[in-house]
Structure formats: C-alpha cells, structure tokens
Point group: C2
Chain length 167, copies 2
DNA sequence: TATGTTATGTTATATTATTACATATAGATA
DNA sequence: TATCTATATGTAATAATATAACATAACATA
C-alpha cells in the first residue's frame, strides 16, 4: 500500500487488499459476493476514484447488472464495512488503503491526473477532536480531502493560488 | 459571527456579513447584483446549508428566476469570491462566517438539526501542509467537514460510533 | 452613444442517487 | 431434506444535483 505517491508493486497492492477483505468477511460472517468483490477489485485497479456509473458500466459489460441500485448496493456494503470510501469532492469512490484499521482518512486528490492517495494522521484526528470539543460538538465522521497537484503533475503544470481566492 | 454553537444576535450577524460583502465588492469593482445579494441573504438567514434548488425555489417565489443556471451562476460568484462555501458532504451551500479573511474553513455539521458552523484553524492548515509536503503534494484547496451532533442535539439523541464502523 | 464586458435568461441535457418493491439466494432451523 | 428467514440482487421509475451551449440584457467606460 502506498504511503504517498511513490511507485509500488500495485499487483501486490490489489491482492493484499482483496485478501484482507476475504478474511475480514469470513471472520465477521459477511457475504463477500461476486458483485461486491468485483466492485472492490475495480476500485483497486488504479489509485483513482471511480464514479458509480463508471463502475456500473464495467459491471454491465461483464453481465453483472445494468441498473444503478446494483452498484449502489455494493458500494453501500463496501463503504459500511470500511473497504472503500466516498470521495465527496468528486462524487466518486475509492478503495481503502488501510482496511482493517480504525482511521480517519485524509485524501490527497490531484486535479490534473485525478489520482487519489489516502493517508491517515492520528494527530490530525486528535486535533480536530480538540477543535470540536472546544465548540461542544461531538464528532461521528470526518471528511478531509486535499486538492492540488501530485508530485509528477507539479512538473507539468503551474500551481493555482492556495485557498482561498480572496487576497 | 458565531465561533461555535452559542446563541448570538443573528440579525447583526446577517447585516454585518452583507455590509462586508457590499464594501468588498465596491472595493474590487465586483457587481454585487440583486440576485447575488439575495442568494447570499438567503444563505445567511440560518446557520444551515441550503441546496441549490432550495435557493432556486425562493428566487422563483420572488420572481427572480426559475431556471437552475440562475442560482448556479450566483453561487459560482459567491463561492469564487469567498462569500459562501459549498458543503461537499451535503451538496449544499453555506454563507461564509469569516469573509474577507484568508482561511481554510472547517465545518461542523449536525446530522440531527442540520446546523452548520464554520470555524477555522490555522494550526490545522499548517498540519495538513506538513502532511502533504511529506508526500510531495501541493495543496490548492481543502475540504474539511466534521459530522456529528451539536451541543443541543447531544442531549436529545445518543451518539453513533466514531469513525469508522469497523472495530 | 458606441463598444466591449459581464450578468442574466433559456433550453436542453448530463450526472449522481434513491424509493419502493419483486425475485432469488444463502444460511439457519426443524 | 424441507422449510423458514434473512440477506442479496434485480427492476422500474423517479428524484436531486449540476452543466453545456448559447441568446439577450445590463453595465462600464471611453
Ligand atoms: Zn481508508
Ligand atoms: Zn497528478
Ligand atoms: Zn469561510
Ligand atoms: Zn443539532
């Protein structure tokens, strides 16, 4: 599993994630069915987020279903069980890179090549916890997504100004 | 402007935000037109996020336009100029509580009463900067949204488990 | 007023997601 | 094994969000 944008053995990356999902589901008595497994596999193929209808297109080509609820059902399962995340900024879905661990994921999204890298930071979680506590707010979920340019795309394109547009 | 969930003089809150927008636009030579101003005003009315079609419903009732691009044009302006933010998790829009300041906003979203409170944390921004830098990633924008229960809703409803569902 | 620029309006359509329910299948129970 | 029950999949229709492409109107300023 990549910790960042460095090259890695992605075949192993995929196999490892599927194996973890297999054993986790076996442990918990969850049905890791053909469709669910295939959707996860599709999400694992690249470190990119895929839209529900991209996934559905693939399923459809493979004779695994043609209607939206097919893929949304599978995504519900994968997200609920922590095998995938929804990337809110993209309305798309990404395989989890740290399955089986409690984590508050942080996504780095390259606007140019669309790659998505998941990282996690315990300090950040603590930090948000402190911020929320000060306001009396009780955290249940977090959405943390960073948009910008990945290392290789920085060479190809100038940066846009850091948030916000206002000076 | 509220720093958290405490009660405050919301009429003053609205007036102050509109006045800031007026003067900012005057300074920059931006056209703070009737529709744009009204959309901001609608967003300011409560500390909640409103969907584009909610806003359009209001505009439509007031004879200010009936088609989606009307409201999306206005929202584009308000977001581009930092008067409003899109809340990605809700596909909805919220007036900025710190207009005129450079900031990476953090939103606390109550799942029960749907209130949205914007805060900002310079340390968090630094922290994400460090995380990204370690991966060689260049930040342009951030999406930081916390979901959970606001102080008053905590009294009314039990919390759900903290992220993630996985044990 | 003439001219270029920005804002608004119109039509159509794209994209993402859900509701509600029917059928099929897996796993548990008798 | 046969039945029961819960879960998964399939179907149809529709809801909700957002954009493309372009026409018209209003504004800015020379
Ligand atoms: Zn993850
Ligand atoms: Zn890139
Ligand atoms: Zn703001
Ligand atoms: Zn609340």
């Amino acid at each position: 599993m990549p910790l960042g944008f460095e090259k890695h053995d992605h075949t192993a990356c995929i196999q490892s994630a599927l194996a973890k999902a297999d054993s986790y589901c076996a442990d918990k008595g969850l049905q890791f069915t053909k469709i669910r497994r295939r959707v996860l596999e599709l999400l694992l193929m690249e470190h990119k987020a895929l839209g529900a209808y991209d996934l559905l297109g693939n399923l459809s080509n493979e004779g695994l279903g043609t209607q939206p609820p097919i893929v949304y059902h599978a995504l519900d399962f994968l997200v609920a069980n922590g095998f995938a995340h929804k990337i809110e900024k993209l309305n798309a879905y990404s395989a989890c890179c740290h399955p089986g661990k409690t984590h508050a994921p942080v996504f780095m999204i390259c606007r140019r090549c669309k790659c998505v890298v998941e990282t996690q930071t315990e300090p950040l979680r603590n930090f948000l916890g402190t911020t929320a506590k000060a306001a009396g707010f009780l955290i249940e979920r977090t959405v943390i997504e960073i948009e910008g340019l990945c290392p290789s795309c920085q060479k190809a394109e100038p940066a846009r100004p850091y948030y916000p547009l206002r000076t």
